[in-house]
């Protein structure tokens, strides 16, 4: 039976990996991901999990090792953050192209420079085009559940794509929360053993990672993209079944008090909980505001998102990454692109907040909403706005 216990969120992530009975973990230390692989190294060392724990010499090799492992037919996991994710960048594209169901947790952290170990989304937003399925967790329970969901989706024969579960570094990864940990029998009901159709086997030789000449490259890219787009059906089905089994139902986007909302805040990750507190406060004051947050980021859940924001006149999109020299932050960019062709589309204002570990407070959200109301009447001069900047 599931037990509800106080647990650090990083440990909950690795407990999910343990319960998934992974075969190989590639591990390289990087803050704030470290607690995840540290705990996994302990459960392997204690014999609680029979897996290969490969302490590689870099994140580049971590992802390379995962590809070699997954190609051999093993259930494969790694975790990283920030510079480590950036170092993997080159290899990240190759896993989905080879249709390898690797699961990775990214404890989101700012990118250098200046060097910062604290949380924002600049690491993962630099990896928009890698063709991995990506989810964002809001709290520890979601982290645990989304890791199990990730294996289930990745290894589905209709999907066979790698999955990233994003969680905010420190502000979520290092927090102790009450989390309901499923037991092995419950996990086994949800997650069948991984049985690859194709793997590296001398009895049945295959070549993987061949040269894509111009006559085939476009078609190969199209096939990967279609697989990613079509994965959404399995993502939804796997969430439905998770809910039916364990009572926690998840959606690609979640709405909070959006009924009759004139302004809707758009967030991702753990700041959504602070945003909800801000919404409660503003609603008490009679302000018509609500919140929509993404749980599924890639493939972009356009229909669900459009449905969630229907009726709102104004969207206040909070980005936790800067797109230097660009028209707006990466989340706002995606939303604007998705809404451009819609009739009667809402106005979209973009706010960059919480870079490099800067707190995003209830007051910040109130400021953002208040600005959005103002801009709805009087168009702002700038394309986007940075919140909480200390001017000297």
């Amino acid at each position: 039976m599931a037990k509800r216990i106080g647990m650090e969120v990083s440990i909950a992530a690795s407990e999910a990996v343990k319960l998934a009975d992974v075969d190989l973990i590639a591990a390289y230390p990087i803050t704030p991901q470290t607690h995840i692989v540290e705990h996994l190294s302990e459960v392997v060392a204690d014999g609680e999990l029979d897996a290969a724990f490969v302490p590689v010499e870099s994140e580049h090799s971590a992802m390379s090792c995962c590809i070699g492992s997954s190609a051999a037919g093993a259930r494969t996991f790694t975790a990283t953050s920030s510079q480590g994710l950036a170092l993997m960048h080159e290899i990240l594209f190759i896993a989905p192209a080879m249709r390898l169901p690797i699961v990775m947790v990214v404890a989101n952290r700012a990118l250098s420079g200046p060097i910062s170990i604290w949380n924002d989304h600049s690491d993962i937003m630099a990896e928009q085009d890698i063709a991995w399925i990506q989810t964002f967790a809001e709290n520890g329970q979601e982290v645990f559940d989304l890791v199990l969901h990730a294996f289930r989706v990745a290894e589905d024969s209709k999907v066979l794509l790698p999955v990233i579960v994003n969680l905010d570094g420190f502000t979520l990864s290092h927090v102790i929360e009450p989390i309901e940990i499923l037991d092995k029998a419950e996990v086994d009901k949800y997650l069948p053993p991984y049985k690859p159709k194709v793997r590296l086997d001398p009895r049945k030789p295959v070549s993987m990672g061949l040269v894509g000449i111009p006559e085939i490259y476009t078609e190969a890219k199209k096939a990967t993209n279609e697989a990613l787009i079509n994965s959404k059906r399995v993502v939804l089905k796997a969430w439905k079944e998770f809910g039916d089994l364990f009572g926690r139902y998840y959606n690609p986007v979640e709405s909070y008090k959006t009924e009759g909302a004139e302004v809707i805040l758009i967030t991702m990750g753990s700041i959504s909980e602070t945003a909800m507190t801000a919404i409660d406060k503003m609603r008490e004051k009679g302000m018509q505001v609500g919140l929509v947050r993404f749980r599924l980021w890639k493939p972009f859940p356009a229909p669900e998102f459009k449905k969630a924001i229907a009726g709102a006149q104004t969207l206040a999109v909070v980005d936790r990454a800067l797109s230097p020299g660009g028209a707006c932050g990466p989340v706002a960019e995606e939303i604007k692109a998705a809404l451009y062709a819609e009739r009667g589309r809402p106005k979209v204002y973009n706010f960059i907040a919480g870079l490099g570990g800067r707190d995003v407070t209830v007051e910040n959200f109130e400021e953002i909403v208040s600005k959005a109301f103002t801009y709805a009447k009087k168009r702002p001069k700038q394309l986007y706005e940075m919140i909480g900047v200390r001017e000297i």
Partner: protein, 313 residues
């Protein structure tokens, strides 16, 4: 002596394995010494293997979709990570066998890379994999430059050689640094087996490839791989030049078994290095002084090797 090598008798010219993990029908240049070396090495290692290839000539010429020249499972990921990918495959197979998910049977994991993939960009991942002790064979096919991208210098390009990024000019005589000694780097990792080989001595090469596969733990094989295109020599000269490289002590053949150096073909009366250099366009610009300097370097390096092997000239 390593236990696994005790019963290995060696290949004979009359009794070579019939099966070819690397089939003919690949797209290598005419007279390529590298593909010949790879074919021989894989013939020796055999069909019960999985090959992980770095980006390079051998990857390009054997894997143009929808064709493949590989009769064994083959995986290519990127330029610098063949050893890291092979680590994952090796560790995964071990755990899958332990858990009973696949049948218990030894499979040889072979990672291959050119000199760029080995001595330069992939040195870190190779070092990591050797240090972690994965049971795999790493084969460096050394054609002494980045041939796949059009003959640019690598850290394995020999002193004085002309490449497109080490061109001779008014202020240059070609490659200005000495060839990086990757076998010595491998030896420094305390791995059980390191060897050099040449396709001109094909039984020696095949025996070494098989021994590398037989030993438990990491094995490193550095194979001389002549390149008619990059070295500017005739397509019929790969073997002749490969042989000269050994006879002049430019590329000595040796093994390092558990740290112990053994010179397999001791050259007591080496031919002058000039004989080797003059057959190749890449050394055409060298003056007599430079040739004499290269001769001194070769002699010094060979002396060092003799000392390591506890031998005298």
């Amino acid at each position: 002596m390593i236990k696994e090598l005790e019963n290995f008798k060696g290949f004979s010219a009359k009794k070579l394995p019939l099966a070819d993990p690397l089939a003919s029908g690949h797209r290598a240049c005419q007279g390529c010494g590298e593909v010949l070396a790879l074919k021989l090495a894989m013939k020796a290692i055999g069909m019960n293997s999985i090959v992980v290839s770095a980006t390079g000539c051998m990857e390009i010429i054997t894997s143009t979709f929808p064709q493949t020249a590989w009769n064994v499972p083959w995986l290519h990921v990127a330029f610098e990570n063949a050893a890291a990918v092979a680590s994952g495959t090796e560790a995964a197979l071990k755990v899958l066998m332990r858990k009973g998910k696949i049948p218990q049977k030894h499979i040889d994991i072979v990672a291959i890379g050119g000199d760029g993939a080995t001595a330069d960009i992939g040195l870190q991942s190779l070092s990591g994999a050797m240090e972690r002790g994965h049971d795999f064979v790493y084969i460096c096919l050394d054609n002494e430059a980045y041939m796949n991208t059009g003959v640019q210098r690598s850290s394995s390009t020999p002193y004085g050689a002309m490449t497109t990024t080490s061109p001779p000019g008014k202020k240059s005589f070609g490659q200005a640094t000495k060839k990086k000694n990757v076998p010595a780097i491998a030896v420094a990792h305390n791995i059980p087996y390191v060897a050099t080989a040449s396709p001109a001595y094909f039984l020696d090469l095949m025996n070494k490839a098989k021994k590398a596969a037989l030993v438990k733990g990491p094995a490193y094989l550095h194979i001389y791989s002549s390149c008619p295109t990059g070295w500017r020599h005739g397509g019929d000269l790969a073997i002749e030049i490969s042989k000269l490289a050994v006879e002049t002590n430019v590329f000595p053949l040796y093994e390092v078994i558990e740290g112990k150096y053994i010179i397999n073909r001791k050259i007591t009366k080496p031919k002058p290095v000039a004989e080797y250099l003059k057959k190749q366009g890449r050394f055409r610009h060298l003056t007599d002084d430079l040739i004499a300097q290269i001769q001194r370097q070769v002699d010094e390096e060979y002396d060092k090797l003799l000392k390591l092997a506890g031998e005298t000239a």
